[in-house]
């Protein structure tokens, strides 16, 4: 039990997928303009990632095995693409606005490097099934946390007197850098 908690804390804070591993930056910059969209994107990613980590573990363990290890990346992409498609349909049915708001980013979850990265890291770290699930969920929660914090900050920056040349992406980049520095403070939290 303690191990799972460690994985969760480790992935959410210490090795935050966005702020420390610098993965999944495309949606991080793209969908963080509004808090509501950030929440939606976070939820969608969490769902996809948790499901994706579990499925890709099963695929890796029972379908590929050590013989077909060279197919890992390929098959993971297929599995994740399938799950994303499924999520997209489900969201479109349940929340058309969220569907419209996530717009291009929803299919982009497929190519979100965080989503492919985490199952691959799972394989690398030789996690078992439950550990993989926790690792996937922790990574996604870390992604959501960073995204939501960033969106909150950007909403306020929107209302601020930002010098003309810094407006938009420039100030967002500076903010992201500062946030990344802040997340470095978590290093050493878990031994």
């Amino acid at each position: 039990m303690e191990g799972y908690l460690l994985i969760l804390v480790g992935t959410v804070f210490v090795n935050n997928i966005v702020m420390v591993k610098i993965l999944g930056l495309c949606p991080f910059m793209g969908v963080s303009r509004k808090l509501e969209t950030a929440l939606g994107m976070g939820a969608a990613t969490t769902f996809v990632l948790t499901l994706g980590s579990g499925t890709s573990y099963l695929v890796n363990k029972y379908l590929l095995g050590p013989d077909l290890a060279y197919l890992t990346t390929l098959s993971f992409i297929v599995v994740i693409a399938g799950i994303v498609q499924f999520t997209e349909m489900a969201i479109r049915k349940t929340s058309p606005v969220l569907y419209q708001v996530l717009g291009i980013y929803l299919p982009l979850i497929t190519t979100n490097c965080a989503v492919l990265g985490i199952p691959l890291l799972n394989v690398q770290a030789k996690h078992d099934f439950v550990e993989s699930l926790f690792f996937g969920m922790g990574g996604a929660l870390g992604f959501s946390l960073a995204l939501i914090l960033f969106a909150g900050i950007r909403e306020r920056i929107e209302a601020a007197d930002v010098p003309g040349i810094f407006r938009g992406s420039a100030i967002a980049m500076v903010t992201a850098g500062l946030m990344s520095l802040a997340f470095m403070g978590f290093a050493g939290l878990v031994k």
Partner: protein, 183 residues
């Protein structure tokens, strides 16, 4: 090699089956987005966007057949709202469809009106009252200022009157201060 092909094919088949099931289970009927877009549009029903009313324009936007910058009465503000809703880029108002004007209402010069009922037929919101050979008048509270009644009038007795500020509609202005040199 053969195993690899089988494995990938099997994987693709399995995922295809799941997606096929989802496509049936989560089928979306109609376009629920149309209502959301229609709620943003100003409902003047003026047709300046090139569609016969706000609802058809909303439908066209939802289906991707129209740009979001074709509505002059809504102004830039509505374009921003539509861009937010649809996750699209903001575009300045397309001047080909007209320019925003201050809100006005149609007024019929009752001396000139000949009671032809052409304007009552043109009014998209039934805001003109009158019968054949009787004087017509505009119900100001229901007029959207679409100007559709101007063209059909054979005697040009309708003109647009801008709605001025009254105690009821007055609002506090954005605080602006004269720049003064600090001592």
């Amino acid at each position: 090699m053969l195993t690899a092909v089988f494995v990938m094919a099997g994987l693709a088949l399995a995922i295809g089956a799941v997606l096929g099931f989802a496509a049936i289970r989560f089928r979306v009927e109609g376009h629920p987005l149309v209502e959301k877009i229609d709620a943003i549009l100003p409902q003047t029903q003026c047709g300046q966007c090139g569609f016969p009313g706000c609802k058809p324009y909303a439908q066209a936007i939802a289906e991707g057949n129209a740009e979001i910058n074709q509505c002059p009465p809504g102004g830039e503000e509505n374009i921003h709202k539509l861009a937010d809703l649809l996750g699209a880029e903001f575009k300045p108002l397309n001047a080909a469809h007209g320019v925003p004007k201050p809100r006005s209402v149609a007024v019929i010069d009752e001396e000139l009106c000949i009671g032809c009922t052409l304007c009552t037929q043109a009014c998209p919101v039934d805001a003109i009252l009158g019968a054949a050979k009787q004087m017509h008048t505009v119900i100001a509270a229901e007029c959207t200022g679409c100007e559709l009644c101007l063209a059909p009038c054979p005697v040009d007795c309708i003109h647009m009157l801008p709605v001025g500020e009254s105690i009821g509609s007055w609002k506090w202005k954005y605080p602006v201060f004269p720049l003064t040199r600090a001592a």
